[in-house]
């Protein structure tokens, strides 16, 4: 069936963007009611527009939530649709399915947490101007857009937040921080990957209070088989790879070159105080 107007199927994008006005929208919906492929496509495209919404996030005024509570209290809810659909799973089964999915995600998140607990941020001072490694923008983009990307956030002890996005599949992670305490001009934040016997610098933040760095953290992304005894007994400050004595080789893969500064003071910024072994233990979960 041919229509002189744009082929309805090509309007799937405009429909998902709510860029069809009344008559166009109605026409597309009539078409989509008979076109499973269109419906499937719109569903997929709406996942993309939802990300556009997430990117536009702005916190609403707090008063809105209270006003809403009063509003929902006097608003009757719609009952579920009960169209008979023999082949479809029943509502209760749907919920079970959702819950099962939830458990899988949770396991993934815990696995991620266990692996990333071994990431620590140190402050080091450097006489080297913070030129940093060559742009790893491509690598960063790859991790940020990886389908299996896991995002973890933590409060930084001295202020600010740290975020890690990592992909187990690509064995890479991106570290980003915002709102960190500002440092004197000669100092910068440096990211360290802490693991048994091989603590190593994993790049530094480009700006004194925020920034993003990526690195290929093959060992750090491996799920630890058991608690990290070696490092627990051997706090990172006493480690053989101490940047004060031992220039670090670039990490294989090159995304994060372990550029070594001359440390002024070093501080354990995320997680328990490093002198308390119990906390370290938990940290490595």
């Amino acid at each position: 069936m041919r229509i002189r107007r744009p082929e309805p199927h090509t309007l799937a994008g405009a429909y998902a963007l709510d860029a069809l006005d009344g008559p166009d929208r109605a026409r597309f919906e009539r078409h989509a009611a008979r076109c499973q492929e269109c419906t499937r496509e719109v569903t997929g495209l709406r996942e993309a527009t939802a990300r556009l919404a997430a990117a536009a996030a702005v916190p609403p005024p707090a008063a809105l939530k209270d006003a809403l509570r009063a509003e929902t209290a006097r608003t009757r809810q719609l009952p579920p649709l009960t169209r008979p659909r023999p082949a479809a799973p029943r509502p209760s089964a749907r919920r079970l399915g959702v819950r099962r999915l939830g458990m899988r995600r949770l396991a993934l998140a815990l696995g991620g947490a266990a692996a990333v607990a071994a990431v620590t941020v140190w402050v080091t001072a450097s006489l080297v101007p913070p030129a940093g490694p060559p742009s790893a923008s491509q690598e960063i983009a790859k991790v940020l857009t990886a389908p299996d990307a896991v995002k973890l956030t933590a409060q930084v002890r001295t202020g600010g937040t740290a975020t890690i996005v990592m992909s187990h599949h690509d064995r890479m992670l991106v570290f980003a921080a915002a709102g960190l305490r500002r440092l004197p001009a000669a100092q910068h934040y440096e990211l360290w990957l802490i693991e048994p016997g091989r603590d190593r610098a994993a790049g530094r933040l480009p700006a004194p209070s925020h920034g993003m760095t990526g690195c290929r953290g093959r060992p750090a992304l491996r799920r630890p088989a058991r608690p990290d005894r070696g490092t627990r007994r051997n706090p990172p400050t006493h480690h053989a790879d101490d940047p004060r004595t031992d220039p670090l080789a670039p990490v294989p893969g090159g995304a994060c070159s372990g550029r070594v500064g001359i440390p002024g003071h070093r501080q354990h910024l995320i997680g328990g105080p490093q002198r308390r072994a119990a906390d370290q233990d938990r940290l490595r979960g």
Partner: protein
């Protein structure tokens, strides 16, 4: 076994579909606490999206409130087979914002004509450091052709119809609808947002 006390918390990057779906299922049976928790998770994307389209602060709050009352009313109609909970909520929010603006066309048109095609994209780019979601979206928008990106952002962030976008860009409407579609497909693939 005590739960590991890691300073890190988080989950799969992007909106956590399973948790939100579970919350919506409880909202559907009138659970106010679940509604509050759901609100905390999606209020900022909803409010930001509505604000982008309607612009007026008072109207933004009004439409945002309508969106959440609708989510409360219709929570039982959410169907995980038809997309993620975030997409469901964002669709309600965007649709309602756009419909509101179009019903008040004459004045809104005037106000919004001032918005240059790149504003929405620049807004996204500006806050890169604060928000990884933004960063992912910004990078992916950057991978579209100029026409794809302008068509998508003018429609989504500006609330324009594809015919209006065609007028703004001086491009045939058929071309705009095609670019919207292949731009969104590319965006979806880049964001790993498809299923």
């Amino acid at each position: 076994m005590s739960p590991p006390r890691s300073p890190w918390s988080g989950a799969r990057a992007g909106p956590d579909h399973a948790d939100l779906a579970a919350l919506l299922a409880r909202v559907a049976v009138g659970d106010q606490a679940a509604f509050d928790a759901m609100y905390d998770r999606v209020a900022a994307p909803v409010f930001g999206t509505v604000r982008n389209v309607v612009r007026d602060p008072g109207l933004t709050e009004e439409v945002t409130q309508e969106v959440f009352v609708e989510v409360w009313r219709a929570a039982s109609r959410f169907d995980a087979r038809k997309g993620s909970p975030m997409a469901w909520v964002a669709t309600i929010a965007h649709r309602r914002a756009v419909d509101r603006v179009r019903s008040e066309q004459p004045s809104a048109d005037r106000d919004r004509r001032a918005a240059s095609p790149m504003i929405a994209y620049d807004d996204v780019a500006e806050t890169v450091e604060d928000n990884l979601d933004r960063e992912r979206v910004r990078r992916c928008l950057g991978s579209l052709t100029d026409l794809q990106r302008e068509a998508v952002t003018l429609a989504y962030y500006g609330g324009y119809t594809y015919r209006q976008v065609a007028g703004l860009l001086g491009v045939p409407a058929g071309t705009v609808s095609t670019r919207m579609r292949d731009g969104l497909i590319r965006l979806r693939d880049c964001l790993g947002a498809g299923r």
